[in-house]
């Protein structure tokens, strides 16, 4: 055995070990004083209480709207059951009406039920924003490139609709995913390669139905 063979054998390490090692360690935080510690504990307890109410409400909403978010083979999917099954003709006529400066359209892709756009920054940094909208049919399933354990999720409101914001902090990317329940359309905006979340949010808020392009 030589050192090269040992070096090559490192390839067999566990996936989790490889991914975890690449993450930057958080800086140590200053210790709280005892009084503050109790205050924090009280705040956390309150937050958990209200989070419980929010989860209950969200589940009730899911049942009514017949859609659910699932994790299958450690990947996140949105699955819609028994929703209107009429097959749409053409891609949904939605698009953002605002984009940050110096972004150029690099991919424009559609099929019967979905339309996607990808914009890349003209600079060398390849900052990227994307938008997609999908019709929701019976049993329709839309997957996202999100793997369990690699993201955190928070709830935001976009134009009055609750959206899931997934953050993959170690590679500086994220996704906003929400559904227009009235139109039964699933929207997603993603940002990566250093594109700003604030820009992605503004793109999401600017999305409008294109006039004269109805289904």
């Amino acid at each position: 055995m030589n050192s090269w063979e040992l070096f090559e054998a490192m390839t067999g390490l566990e996936d989790d070990t490889i991914l975890a090692a690449a993450q930057t360690a958080p800086r140590r935080r200053a210790r709280f004083r005892p009084g503050l510690r109790h205050l924090c504990a009280a705040c956390i307890a309150l937050a958990l209480f209200f989070a419980g109410i929010a989860v209950f409400d969200a589940e009730a909403g899911n049942a009514t709207m017949r859609w659910t978010r699932r994790v299958r083979e450690n990947r996140v999917y949105y699955v819609f059951w028994n929703s209107p099954s009429d097959t749409p003709e053409g891609a949904p006529p939605y698009a953002p009406t605002w984009l940050p400066e110096d972004y150029a359209l690099t991919t424009d892709w559609s099929d019967e039920t979905r339309h996607s756009y990808i914009w890349t920054h003209r600079g060398a940094d390849r900052k990227t924003l994307s938008f997609s909208c999908s019709y929701v049919g019976d049993g329709h399933q839309q997957g996202y490139g999100l793997e369990e354990g690699t993201y955190t999720c928070e709830i935001l409101v976009i134009n009055g609709i609750e959206a899931d914001h997934y953050m993959e902090t170690d590679i500086g990317s994220g996704w906003l995913v929400w559904i227009d329940r009235k139109e039964q359309i699933l929207f997603a905006v993603s940002y990566y390669n250093g594109a700003a979340f604030e820009d992605a949010l503004r793109v999401a808020e600017s999305i409008q139905r294109m006039e004269g392009e109805g289904r």
Binding site: L19, N74, E147
Partner: protein, 178 residues
């Protein structure tokens, strides 16, 4: 936007475009960490995309990012192995350090080495594990590791020294001895 793996399985080139847009920097940093040469890294990165396009399907990786990381590292190793001896200078220091861990260079490599190494790494304390993997999996310099874990280069060197000693003892225990 659909899931990248789903698109690749449908042989949709949008999947490859998304893969490049999202993971180019990630894969580039892994390859460059080992090759330390920008033009070679660009070339190797193209090989990574081709390897992914050719392997999915039939492969359906559970952890796409880890799959990409391993593909990127294997591609970089391929360049180090076959391109020319000069390029190995990028990892010469790493190899010299790892040589300290080998109880007997004449020992035959068994198929179990990967398993033994994997088990050893999983026994390490979290900080030592992170430092060891960043050094010998990603090929990072002491300075790069120190910056990532908010520590000093001297301390990192100490952690690595102790971990290599442990690895040597572990390899001896597992039968890699005279």
């Amino acid at each position: 936007m659909a899931d990248i793996i789903e698109l690749l399985e449908r042989r949709d080139e949008v999947g490859l475009a998304l893969l490049k847009e999202k993971y180019a920097d990630y894969c580039y940093s892994i390859i460059y960490g080992l090759l330390r040469d920008h033009s070679q890294t660009e070339e190797a990165l193209s090989d990574v995309w081709l390897a992914i396009w050719n392997s999915i399907p039939p492969a359906r990786p559970m952890r796409l990012r880890a799959y990409l990381a391993k593909t990127a590292r294997n591609t970089a190793l391929h360049y180090l192995r076959y391109d020319n001896a000069q390029k190995r200078t990028a990892v010469t220091v790493l190899l010299d350090e790892l040589a300290e861990c080998i109880p007997d260079p004449a020992t035959e490599v068994s198929g179990e080495l990967k398993t033994i190494l994997r088990e050893f790494v999983e026994t390490l304390e979290p900080e030592a594990k992170r430092v060891f993997v960043r050094r010998y999996w990603y090929g990072e310099s002491l300075g790069e590791i120190a910056s990532a874990v908010h520590s000093s280069e001297n301390r990192i060197a100490g952690i690595l020294f102790r971990t290599r000693k442990k690895l040597k003892a572990h390899l001896e225990k597992e039968g890699y001895k005279v």
